[in-house]
């Protein structure tokens, strides 16, 4: 199963990179936020992959099956929290974008920079 493991991690890495690139490279603010979402989601996948035991099952206690192998619940908890943090961040960022759009009339970062420079 080494290959599957590698596959998982590789996927995490690639997603992470795509997300990160999107955050840094795109000029559009909404795309930045979307990129951040991708980036974070990749981290979630990393954590969840850590918690998995092959042949295990979801960590909900089964009454009549004493020998069941459960996957590790801890990463799940962490990621639940992290997802929430992510959505909080997203909503705040988007609210900011709305305000920026109202204030500047654009959501392209380079255009905003231009406006700022003109002012100074």
């Amino acid at each position: 199963m080494k290959i599957l493991g590698l596959f998982n991690y590789w996927m995490v890495i690639l997603l992470m990179l795509v997300g990160l690139y999107m955050v840094i490279a795109s000029s559009n603010l909404v795309k930045k936020i979307v990129g951040l979402n991708l980036f974070q989601a990749s981290v979630f996948i990393l954590y969840i992959s850590l918690g998995k035991i092959l042949g295990g099952t979801a960590p909900i206690f089964l009454k009549n099956a004493p020998d069941t192998v459960y996957s590790n619940p801890l990463p799940h908890v962490l990621i639940l929290t992290a997802i929430v943090v992510g959505v909080a961040m997203t909503s705040l960022g988007l609210a900011l974008i709305i305000r920026i759009r109202k204030a500047y009339g654009t959501i392209e970062e380079d255009e905003i920079l231009e406006i700022e420079n003109k002012q100074q």
Binding site: A58, I60, S91, A95, K102, G105
Partner: protein, 160 residues
């Protein structure tokens, strides 16, 4: 959206069930997947659906933004006060075992634990649903004051 008959009828059909389903998720977090957060989101989903179909103003009449704001605070306070309550009842912060008096040591008091989890999840649910609803209200608000930028033309492009 009164003219959009299909959506209106379907929404009417679904909303009560969604609400109930949200509450079910809320209270069955112990037994299966679910819990306060998910419940909160689903609960809000019902309201969002209502907004989509019947309009924002109508939804605001049902549950006012002020109430939403208050509720969001109430949720956090509920959670935190469970923590404080357990201190006052002689345990550590968030030690649910202290919530129900018993001769047993707190750690071995699953009843208290259960109660604590229930309350806490309720707090989560209230906060999450009201916060998301409040965020949604604010995002969806019609804002005709519109773009006050200095001289930057509002570029409206075509979608593909």
């Amino acid at each position: 959206m009164n003219h959009h008959i299909v959506l209106r009828v379907v929404a009417k059909l679904l909303i009560p069930s969604i609400l109930l389903f949200a509450l079910y998720t809320q209270f069955h977090g112990d037994y299966g997947p679910g819990g306060g957060f998910q419940a909160g989101v689903i609960y809000t989903a019902a309201f969002i659906l209502h907004t989509l179909v019947f309009g924002l103003e109508n939804t605001k009449k049902i549950i006012s933004p002020t109430l939403v704001q208050v509720l969001s605070a109430v949720g956090v306070i509920l959670y935190a006060s469970v923590g404080f309550a357990s201190i006052f009842l002689g345990g550590n912060f968030l030690e649910y075992g202290a919530l129900i008096p018993s001769a047993l040591p707190h750690a071995a008091n699953p009843g208290g634990q259960h109660l604590g989890i229930l309350l806490v999840e309720l707090g989560v649910g209230i906060t999450v649903s009201s916060v998301i609803l409040s965020i949604f209200y604010n995002f969806a608000a019609e804002d005709d004051s519109d773009i006050e930028a200095d001289g930057i033309p509002n570029e409206k492009g075509k979608h593909e």
